[in-house]
């Protein structure tokens, strides 16, 4: 029953938001309906359509509340509310459910809200997680998170952030914002590692669930499909990412038999179909890169040349030093040492990367392969200074010792 309720939650909430015109009110109505479900479903059995059931109950309660308020205010309004009642629960419009949910997603990811507020709201309102669950997942104080959500909801109501699907001209930008929120949710789960605390919800799975929902809502939107594929490909490798002591295992050293093949297969179909639509975007390209990694049955058989090309394409879509570093690493793997080093040295002039560990590791590797030992040593030493993780420090110390001999 929990599963049914959770699955129905976002759609029921989105529809109630349309009915009553206000997010907080809609949440209260839904909460009330859920409480009723918890008593009546075990007794009468689960309804065929949980969303319709919850909306109907929530809507009745709303009409009830309206009428009561109206009676307090004046008699005339009570009569107006009878007309609401007449067109009441029976005209539950199924075709609008998906649009309602999209509207609500766009409200939660509205650019007038800070990114952290968008993330918190999406998890609370769309994924239906509790404040305590979200706070634990992000390792923040529940009171801080509660405040963040309350403030965001207040802004939605007070500044009148619209509840609608954006116009076509704004749509690409707004879809990007939604995709970014989902990607951030996934990344938070990914970088924190999963399963350490049994009570923590798995943010990676939540993000995938949200991305799947968008995939269905948007039909075939190439970047949304690219996002879903990217998340699936990264998630497929989750089990192989950590060793028995919980240490991080890099892609090269992972036991590839532990990768989740059905997820990889599903993702590859998504990327290929998305790319065929001829509207490439950053998520599709990143998914294509991840798919190439998954194609290799051994790290040495990775198609680094194609990966380097894809990073070049990605770099043209979003100029970003991290993308350039990744491209340099790929070039290094396929023997283009000089080009790799010149890319990395070019970055030093543009951006302050002195504090960025992967930069120094990549540069050290390029220099070492070009037999510039002294310079390589300096780069690796700088990387070791920046490293905080014991396994990485050990690894770098080993490399440094090799170079010194």
């Amino acid at each position: 029953m929990d599963v049914t309720l959770r699955a129905a939650y976002p759609k029921a909430l989105a529809t109630l938001r349309r009915v009553c015109g206000e997010l907080q009110q809609a949440e209260d109505l839904l909460q009330d309906a859920i409480e009723r479900a918890l008593t009546s479903w075990p007794r009468d059995g689960e309804p065929d359509d949980a969303v319709a059931w919850l909306v109907t109950v929530g809507r009745r309660r709303w009409i009830d509340l309206q009428r009561r308020q109206a009676l307090h205010r004046d008699y005339q309004l009570a009569q107006v509310d009878d007309t609401v009642n007449a067109s009441g629960p029976e005209c539950f419009d199924r075709s609008r459910i998906n649009d309602d949910l999209l509207r609500l997603i766009f409200t939660c990811c509205h650019p007038a809200l800070s990114r952290s507020a968008q993330v918190a709201l999406t998890l609370r309102v769309i994924a239906g997680l509790s404040v305590a669950e979200i706070a634990a997942a992000f390792l923040v104080d529940p009171r801080t998170l509660e405040q963040r959500i309350t403030r965001a909801k207040r802004k939605i109501a007070a500044a009148k952030i619209p509840y609608r699907i954006p116009a076509d001209s704004e749509l690409p930008e707004r879809i990007d914002a939604v995709a970014c929120v989902i990607y951030l949710i996934f990344n938070e789960g990914y970088s924190n590692g999963n399963g350490e605390q049994p009570l923590r919800v798995d943010l990676c799975e939540e993000a995938i669930r949200l991305a799947r929902q968008l995939h269905h809502l948007f039909g075939k939107h190439p970047e949304i499909d690219g996002l879903l594929a990217l998340l699936l490909l990264q998630h497929a490798r989750a089990d192989a990412r950590t060793g028995s002591d919980g240490e991080l295992i890099t892609l090269e050293k992972q036991d590839r038999s532990r990768w989740n093949l059905p997820l990889i297969a599903e993702a590859k179909v998504l990327v290929e179909q998305a790319l065929q639509r001829g509207q490439p975007g950053p998520y599709q390209v990143q998914a294509a890169i991840a798919a190439l990694h998954c194609d290799a049955d051994h790290a040495e058989r990775t198609d680094w040349a194609q990966i380097a090309d894809l990073y070049a394409i990605l770099g043209r879509m979003q100029a970003n030093p991290v993308v350039t570093i990744n491209r340099a690493v790929a070039l290094l793997k396929c023997g283009e040492r000089a080009q790799a080093l010149s890319l990395l040295d070019g970055l030093r002039a543009q951006t302050n990367l002195d504090q960025y560990l992967p930069y120094h590791v990549a540069r050290g590797a390029a220099l070492a392969q070009l037999e510039q030992r002294a310079e390589a040593l300096l780069a690796y030493q700088r990387a070791r200074e920046l490293a905080r993780n014991a396994a990485i420090i050990r690894h770098l110390s080993g490399t440094i010792a090799e170079l010194e001999n």
């Binding site: 509205h110 007038a112 007070a158 500044a159 009148k160 952030i161 619209p162 954006p166």
Partner: protein, 116 residues
């Protein structure tokens, strides 16, 4: 729903513009106002004089003191504002985007209530 569109920029920026650059900015404002009027959103526009003309009354420890200058010496100052009637925040942001070629920042703030 009423909103104010508050326009902040550095005063020296405006002073250092050429005549044609100023005209371009004013033309953007003209376009925005036209759009506002066409939508029935326009309630008023107010260009402020520069901050050296401002006086600030500061209350401290039960006494008040009049200070020559603006409330805060910041890099960008409030230069003017619009009052508009909109359906929602996106509509107000849409107007502000028309003049965003103007350097500086534009704050969009809902009005809690107005007294006429």
């Amino acid at each position: 729903m009423k909103y104010v569109i508050l326009i902040y920029s550095s005063e020296s920026y405006w002073e250092n513009l050429s005549e044609s650059e100023r005209e371009a900015i004013l033309a953007d404002h003209g376009r925005m106002q036209e759009q506002m009027r066409a939508d029935g959103a326009f309630l008023g526009a107010h260009r402020l004089m520069d901050t050296p003309t401002a006086s600030t009354l500061v209350h401290r420890d039960g006494a008040s003191e009049l200070i020559d200058g603006p409330f805060a010496e910041t890099k960008e100052q409030l230069g003017g504002f619009y009052l508009v009637e909109c359906d929602d925040l996106d509509q107000a942001i849409g107007y502000a985007r028309i003049i965003s070629s103007d350097k500086g920042s534009i704050e969009i703030r809902p009005v809690m209530f107005s007294v006429d």
